[in-house]
């Protein structure tokens, strides 16, 4: 292994490759910041450039762009509540409130530290355990994925504020309902398309999240005129916008969160059917539970832990998804699918033999992950104060920009004007719901997990000839479901106990 690391280091540390890392991180960060463009688009953009380079330089460039884009994506979630990719939705839950409180610089710094730690720790796991974990990742069947989605959904309570549980559940159901629009996977039947051709492929995640998060946020800001007191408070807040100071106590709080979230993120990322989004939700839900009632209540209102957990987990999961890619040649996510395409373009076929046949490729990918993460941190920390100042742009300029970029981001993916109409209607509905204190996060959670949950459940039922017995007969499934039950019931029981004592 030491020999491998040395091979990787000697490949990665040449001047060309370091330039690639630098360029990749910069370009990636910039692309990732644009709402609607995520790591996947960033990597795809790099393919023509990478194709003209030699394999290891090309891969290093793509890995750097990848990490840059993940970091950039968190930026738009935190600053303008516009998570361009599903895996940064959970980042916006506490990142955006922090930014609103005038702590944008700090929030970005925490995100950067967490991403960095998640990526680096997960790369160590990858190094040690990749070959053996590959086969573990294959032990997950549809029934287990179904159980995993249930566990993820049981985290919904984490997104509900006090007294809001019913509203959160209602919004989850709305999300589940929206996820059923389109051609049904199992039967090929159209559901809730009302004969509209444009709904045949369902509602895209990007459209929904841009409409209900970024667009509705901008519309709300226009609807609620600011009082003079607001303005004063804002001016006060903006003075410290760029400050990145994280207190010692906060570092102490973050450290264990980062440790736990890296592990959970990496393990979930290794599963080809799960991915960074579920990892970030699970880490967020878990930390909220572990934080206890007082600190847990701060989640969603700018909690340091609540920001750190999903940021660590999604980066660790992104690294974890390289396990099935490199060792089995199976892409678990859209991003790794593009990576696979690029690798094949170089004549490199990832699979069990990659490790043996082309060790330099294998090791330089892993080493480039470390270098990418380090350079990213060095590069971005000095930029944070400037990036954070985006929020100092006056509303009458910033808000139209946000609206413009949200609409254009969605349109440029589908090139279908129908999507813009749909988006506006969703945004209006979201504004009304938010004025009535309905939370949007559970809806997105229901939307993302609902589709996967339904798909896996129905697939499992098909395979098992419509028998439900797999729910208790398969130990892995039963175990995860039991965990979900504990997660749901434990807070209720603990609360009852506490009340009795009091």
């Amino acid at each position: 292994m030491i020999e491998g690391i040395l091979i990787g280091l000697s490949t990665a540390l040449t001047l060309t490759n370091l330039v690639m890392v630098l360029m990749g991180c910069l370009v990636g960060t910039f692309i990732g910041m644009l709402p609607g463009l995520g790591p996947m688009s960033a990597i795809a953009l790099m393919i023509p450039i990478a194709a003209s380079l030699e394999p290891s330089a090309g891969i290093i460039l793509m890995a750097a762009v990848y990490y840059g884009a993940i970091f950039g994506g968190s930026t738009s979630s935190i600053l303008i509540n516009a998570p361009g990719v599903a895996s940064t939705v959970a980042t916006s839950f506490d990142g955006y409130p922090l930014a609103k409180q005038g702590k944008a610089g700090k929030a970005l710094a925490i995100a950067a530290y967490s991403s960095f730690s998640g990526g680096v720790i997960a790369a160590i796991f990858l190094l040690i355990a990749a070959p053996s974990l590959a086969y573990v990742s294959l032990s997950f069947q549809s029934t287990d994925y179904f159980a995993l989605m249930v566990l993820g959904l049981s985290a919904v309570a984490a997104f509900a504020g006090k007294g809001n549980v019913v509203k959160a559940l209602l919004m989850t159901v709305v999300g589940l309902m929206l996820s059923t629009v389109g051609t049904d996977q199992t039967q090929g039947v159209q559901r809730f398309t009302f004969g509209a051709l444009d709904l045949l492929d369902g509602i895209s995640f990007l459209l929904l999240v841009m409409a209900t998060f970024a667009l509705s946020e901008a519309l709300l800001a226009i609807l609620k005129p600011k009082t003079d007191a607001d303005r004063l408070r804002e001016m006060e807040a903006q003075r410290n916008l760029g400050s990145m100071a994280v207190s010692k106590a906060e570092v102490g709080e973050m450290a264990p969160v980062i440790g736990r979230s890296s592990v959970i993120g990496f393990l979930i990322g290794v599963l080809p059917g799960a991915g960074a989004t579920i990892a970030s939700f699970l880490a967020y839900g878990m930390e909220q539970r572990l934080a206890g009632p007082t600190k847990g209540a701060a989640f969603g209102h700018g909690s340091v832990r609540g920001l750190s957990a999903p940021e660590t987990a999604n980066n660790a999961a992104a690294t974890g998804s390289f396990v099935p890619l490199l060792t089995l040649g199976i892409p678990g996510s859209g991003t790794t699918a593009i990576m696979l395409g690029a690798l094949i373009g170089y004549g490199i076929q990832p699979g069990p033999r990659l490790y043996i046949d082309q060790p330099d490729v294998f090791w330089s990918v892993i080493v480039s992950m470390w270098i990418g993460n380090i350079i990213l941190l060095i590069l971005n920390l000095p930029l944070i104060p400037y990036i954070a100042r985006v929020l100092a742009i006056p509303g009458q300029i910033l808000l139209p920009l946000i609206i413009f970029f949200s609409l254009i981001g969605v349109y440029f993916v589908s090139f279908n004007t129908f999507d813009i109409h749909l988006m506006i209607w969703f945004a209006i509905a979201a504004v009304i719901l938010r004025l009535l204190d309905f939370p949007m996060a559970p809806m997105i959670l229901g939307f993302i997990l609902g589709a996967m949950m339904e798909e896996n459940l129905r697939r499992a039922l098909l395979i098992n000839n419509d028998s439900w017995s797999f729910l208790w007969e398969r130990p892995l499934t039963a175990g995860i479901l039991a965990l979900a039950a504990v997660v749901l019931i434990a807070p209720v029981l603990l609360g009852a106990l506490r009340r009795r004592r009091a």
């Binding site: 609607g36 463009l37 996947m40 688009s41 960033a42 990597i43 795809a44 953009l45 393919i47 023509p48 194709a51 990719v85 599903a86 294959l138 032990s139 997950f140 069947q141 549809s142 996820s179 389109g182 051609t183 996977q185 199992t186 039967q187 090929g188 051709l197 444009d198 045949l200 492929d201 369902g202 509602i203 895209s204 995640f205 990007l206 080809p272 059917g273 099935p324 089995l328 040649g329 199976i330 678990g332 859209g334 699918a337 696979l340 094949i344 373009g345 076929q349 699979g351 069990p352 993916v413 589908s414 090139f415 279908n416 939307f447 589709a451 798909e455 697939r459 098909l462 395979i463 000839n465």
Partner: protein, 326 residues
């Protein structure tokens, strides 16, 4: 909910646009068509997009076509672009499409079918294959057939398309070829080829219906067995993999991609397009694009394309009726 393929598309579009721009510099005396406007019925980044932009790249770089422009128009499973092609009637526009145009017009997703358009040429294809987990007891197609005969309900065959979609039809077609009742073939849909492959390796399904190009590399690494390929003869590049025909099933299937023009296109214009594509196959520029994407050349120009499509429509239509999807 399908955000993954859509997201990556923007970028691929931009990427491809870059390549095209770079390729426009050269144009020597062999220009056949002045310019082609490619209409792509899906968002950027998918198979249609790759085909149009890949062909455009080879045609312009080799100088066969002076200038290529591209327009993405998604919606209605391709129906929107078909309607647009007919309505505008521009002879300079070519629309890319593939096997789904046949399937979707049978399903009446859109009212038109390929007969409403001018058929230019089918240019590339990918054969389908049935594969099994290398660790399973199913080593050859005969094993799968035997397991199916023992209990059809215990033989789950997966694929990366919806029920009634291409992978399902291929699985049904191959099993029908050995006398099975296609409605009894237990098809398990996954939302992407990669996930279906993971499902096969997890052992939850017994076999997988997939594109040959997606399976061949994993087979060479010993992860999966290729049970049979839906080509008429063994592929020259991969003589080790048996065809479904020699395994006892008469199933033949190719997932083609090709180009269509507006109805009523003058015959000489169509001949020019066909000439450009025919000459394209011999250029190193096309070979680069083809090899990069692992495509198989199948040249079916003009009326041959029509005969081929009619045959495929018959084949798929019969099967879909039998399966109850029509």
């Amino acid at each position: 909910m399908r955000y993954a393929p859509r997201l990556r598309s923007v970028a691929l579009a931009a990427a491809a646009a870059l390549t095209i721009a770079a390729g426009m510099a050269r144009a020597d005396g062999q220009q056949v068509v002045e310019r082609i406007h490619f209409l792509i019925p899906g968002g950027a980044g998918g198979g249609w997009d790759g085909t149009a932009r890949g062909a455009g790249e080879a045609l312009t770089k080799s100088g066969l076509v002076g200038k290529a422009t591209f327009e993405n128009m998604s919606g209605g499973g391709g129906g929107k672009a078909i309607a647009h092609l007919i309505e505008v009637g521009d002879p300079g526009t070519l629309m890319v499409n593939s096997t789904p145009i046949v399937i979707r017009s049978l399903q009446r997703v859109f009212p038109q079918n390929f007969r409403d358009l001018t058929l230019v040429a089918g240019i590339i294809g990918d054969y389908a294959a049935l594969v099994s987990n290398a660790g399973s007891e199913i080593k050859a197609f005969a094993d799968l057939h035997a397991a199916y005969n023992a209990d059809p309900r215990a033989v789950a065959i997966g694929g990366g398309s919806v029920a009634g979609g291409m992978d399902h039809l291929v699985a049904a077609l191959v099993m029908k070829g050995v006398g099975a009742n296609p409605t009894e073939v237990k098809y398990i849909p996954y939302d992407a080829g990669g996930k279906a492959m993971a499902g096969l390796l997890s052992g939850e399904i017994r076999a997988l219906s997939t594109g040959f190009s997606e399976a061949v590399d994993l087979a060479s690494q010993g992860l999966v067995n290729i049970l049979c390929v839906t080509a008429a003869e063994r592929l020259a590049e991969f003589p080790d993999y048996p065809t479904c025909k020699e395994s006892g099933s008469d199933a033949e299937f190719v997932n083609w991609r090709g180009f269509f023009a507006t109805p009523g296109l003058p015959a000489e214009t169509r001949a020019k397009y066909i000439e450009a594509f025919e000459k394209m196959y011999d250029t190193p520029e096309w070979e680069t694009v083809r090899a990069r994407n692992g495509w198989v050349n199948i040249f079916k120009p003009g009326d041959d394309f029509g005969t081929f499509l009619e045959h495929q429509e018959q084949q798929i239509g019969d099967l879909m009726r039998e399966l109850g999807f029509l």
